[in-house]
């Protein structure tokens, strides 16, 4: 009932914004010359290899190899650019297999991964379970790992453990997967030891090293060991560009009241919604000169996304952060955060809920956040400090 309430609230808030922004920044174009450029397409649209692949797929839409190759490329682009349109295109590449139970393994796995990207967590879990119930699933280490990740995002740690244990033949991933859950539950010392042992291995590929170090940084951050978290984040970023880590580090720096440093960490990142949100927040807190522009642009993008009414539910976390820090509107932030945790329960989601509850001064909201945290079994000293 409560979550239904939160959903309606968020939906209503979205509708108001949608109407307020009836014609978001639309301006007529009146070209006069034929060679006037009207639109620059994303790089992949002109990429010859991509075009060729798409053309071949159009001729043979049920060629598993082609379809999954195209879907993978689009998924990669969605992840790199933060542009959700690519995820839609990827799903379309797999449309020859509308019936999930009859889809080849690779197609089903990609579909679930796309659903994960689109935050359709329940659908992703259903498809991964379908895939992993098939014979030979012990070879599907990647699918088990993805399932463990999605369940973790939903705050279902015990089930996530089960998926972690099924990862065989890839020891480091199984160990890291279990350590991640252990850390979330507060078995901090054991998890830290586990990460440090894995990181001591010299032969680790750089991508795995970055992933493990990020997990360690987040563990230290939740355990309120700012110095260790800071060092771990900097270690990750020394390994090479890593957008996820840069954003997580920026959030950490903002929480540490070091917004100017957060701006520096993000300065080379593409201005995706996630990055722009942090720029707007850190810029506001640091009273930096470009903050006004970033805030205006972020406000505009939120209004634009909210023209699709349900968007405020799906992006509740980010919209709540914006409402809380930039718009200083705790009531709206609380409504958005409540809608968000109905779907997604990562530590950051609960942290934002707790911050909004605290800022709103509502006793029942604070209780609600506390109850949710204990029902998940999350250990996070940042949240404890707020409740």
């Amino acid at each position: 009932m409560r979550s239904l309430h939160a959903l309606t609230g968020a939906l209503a808030a979205g509708l108001v914004v949608a109407f307020a922004a009836a014609a978001v920044n639309a301006a007529p174009i009146t070209p006069t010359l034929d060679d006037e450029v009207i639109e620059v397409l994303p790089a992949s649209a002109a990429n010859r290899e991509d075009r060729q692949l798409r053309k071949r797929l159009a001729a043979r839409p049920d060629d598993v190899r082609l379809a999954t190759a195209v879907a993978r490329r689009y998924l990669e682009q969605a992840r790199e650019s933060g542009d959700p349109r690519f995820a839609g295109l990827a799903l379309a590449a797999l449309r020859a297999w509308p019936d999930a139970s009859a889809a080849p393994d690779e197609v089903l796995f990609l579909r679930a991964t796309l659903e994960q990207y689109l935050h359709e967590f329940d659908a992703a879990v259903a498809h991964l379970r379908l895939l992993l119930a098939r014979p030979g699933s012990e070879r599907q280490a990647q699918a088990w790992l993805t399932l463990a990740t999605v369940l973790r995002v939903q705050g279902r740690y015990a089930e996530s453990d089960g998926a972690c244990r099924a990862i065989v033949g890839a020891d480091v991933y199984q160990t890291a997967c279990l350590a991640e859950n252990a850390a979330l539950r507060g078995e901090t010392a054991a998890a830290r030891r586990s990460f440090e042992t894995m990181l001591a291995a010299r032969t680790l590929p750089a991508s795995t090293r970055g992933w493990l170090t990020t997990s360690l940084a987040e563990l230290e951050e939740r355990d309120a060991r700012a110095g260790a978290a800071d060092a771990a984040y900097r270690n990750v970023l020394r390994l090479g560009p890593d957008t996820y880590a840069a954003i997580a580090y920026a959030d950490f720096l903002i929480a540490q009241r070091r917004p100017a440093e957060a701006l520096t960490v993000l300065k080379d990142e593409a201005r995706t919604d996630t990055v722009l949100l942090r720029l707007a927040i850190a810029g506001t807190l640091a009273r930096s000169a470009p903050a006004t522009r970033d805030v205006a642009e972020m406000r505009e993008r939120i209004a634009l996304a909210n023209e699709r009414p349900e968007a405020s539910i799906f992006h509740g976390r980010e919209q709540a952060m914006f409402a809380l820090v930039v718009e200083r509107d705790p009531e709206r932030a609380l409504a958005l955060a409540r809608g968000d945790v109905a779907r997604q329960r990562e530590p950051l989601d609960l942290l934002v809920l707790a911050q909004a509850a605290r800022a709103s001064g509502r006793r029942e909201a604070i209780d609600e956040a506390r109850r949710l945290k204990s029902s998940i079994g999350l250990h996070d000293r940042r949240i404890d400090a707020l409740l």
Partner: protein, 396 residues
């Protein structure tokens, strides 16, 4: 004129960062005896469905959009039905929104919309992006605006019946309701297992099923068990005499294609498949022609090296399809290349053994070298035509 171009580019670039899901916007105004629809559709989305960018340069010019306008209207009109009212186009415009340029279709009908919520059948982009939505605002005279979100249904898009029956509850095709993950997710790392040789196998598979590369190698090998003499082709005596030229040719081919494969994979050099694919066909024709009638002014090893450079770009083309892992790129590339070499050695070993066994046959020069080369020339020419004209003649 150049200034206009630059300004337009600048404008388009400034909004490129705004990422949202694909939406079209319908403003539906109904009064007695008249229905007006203003429909804004992103050009970027239309390009995916209709290939508006005819010169494939990644930019949509007014000329390209203007030329495609009838196709845009036809495509869109087939995918929208409002309470059975026949819609006709009465105007067009372009509009810049935060996330890019939109085509604006002005549609009209002399239909009176029945009372109640209008029944709108919507199928735009059902075949290219199932997460697309139409955001409709319906305004009736004297009433408040009603907002509805239209989900494209495959049945409307005229796609095949198998896709239209996509209604199983777990089908992600229809469940993705909103799609602008403003949050960045922690990507799961890709599980890589040391000791697996999947890209090596890909390399082997590619050369064994890459008929053009095989045919090129065969053309080079056909005369390797013979030598040219004043009285025509003479069989070599010992295997050694055949093996060394083969080793030379194969090494030249290997070194050359490894160079270009590496350069292309590292994105240091890029050549369009529109050139490379016909060029590969041409190397076959020339190599086979040289068997019948010496045409190369330099030694075959040198020619093989140059042709190998071209084939390397062809190998690089499949790399895109393989999606080499970015984390361990060098290792995967090395495996792929080693796989190519292994496959190539198998072909060479088999072909050389067979040819060596056949070398004393009297018909060898005439049938194996002569007729074999002519067949290769014919196939090469057909490939050349196919690849230049973008038509399909042969089964492979």
């Amino acid at each position: 004129m150049r200034a206009v171009y630059a300004l337009a580019l600048l404008l388009a670039a400034s909004v490129a960062g705004a990422h949202k899901a694909s939406d079209s916007y319908l403003q539906i105004t109904a009064s007695t005896g008249q229905l007006d629809v203003r429909w804004d559709i992103a050009l970027r989305d239309l390009d995916v469905a209709l290939d508006l960018d005819s010169d494939a340069d990644g930019k949509l010019t007014w000329g390209e959009v203007r030329a495609a306008w009838p196709r845009i209207e036809a495509y869109a009109l087939r995918r929208l039905v409002i309470d059975g009212c026949p819609l006709a186009s009465v105007g067009r415009a372009l509009e810049r929104r935060n996330d890019g340029a939109y085509a604006v279709l002005m549609l009209r009908s002399t239909c009176t919309l029945p009372a109640g919520a209008p029944r709108i059948s919507y199928g735009l982009f059902a075949d290219v992006d199932p997460t697309h939505r139409g955001i409709a605002k319906v305004q009736r005279a004297g009433e408040k605006v009603a907002l509805s979100v239209l989900e494209p249904t495959a049945a409307m898009a005229g796609v095949t019946s198998t896709a239209a029956s996509a209604s199983d509850a777990a089908s992600g095709v229809s469940t993705a309701a909103s799609t602008a993950p403003a949050s960045i997710d922690r990507p799961s790392p890709s599980v890589t297992r040391p000791g697996r040789w999947e890209f090596l196998l890909e390399g082997v598979r590619h050369i064994l099923t890459g008929y053009d590369h095989v045919l090129f190698l065969l053309c080079l090998l056909l005369p390797s068990v013979m030598r040219r003499s004043p009285v025509g082709w003479q069989p070599v005596e010992r295997l050694g005499a055949a093996v060394w030229p083969v080793v030379g040719i194969v090494s030249a081919f290997t070194v050359a294609h490894s160079i270009t494969l590496g350069l292309a994979a590292l994105k240091l050099v890029s050549l369009t498949p529109a050139f490379i694919e016909p060029a590969i066909a041409a190397t076959i024709v020339l190599a086979a022609l040289d068997n019948v009638l010496p045409i190369f002014p330099v030694r075959r090893v040198v020619v093989t090296f140059f042709f190998g450079l071209i084939h390397g770009f062809g190998f690089a083309g499949v790399l895109a399809e393989l999606n080499l892992p970015r984390a361990d790129f060098a290792w995967a590339l090395l495996q792929f290349n080693l796989g190519l070499e292994v496959g190539q050695l198998v072909i060479v070993a088999v072909a050389t053994s067979v040819l060596f066994a056949l070398r004393r046959w009297r018909g060898y020069p005439k049938f194996v070298i002569g007729a074999g080369s002519l067949v290769a020339i014919a196939i090469g020419v057909l490939w050349l035509i196919e690849r230049i004209g973008n038509v399909s003649i042969m089964p492979v």
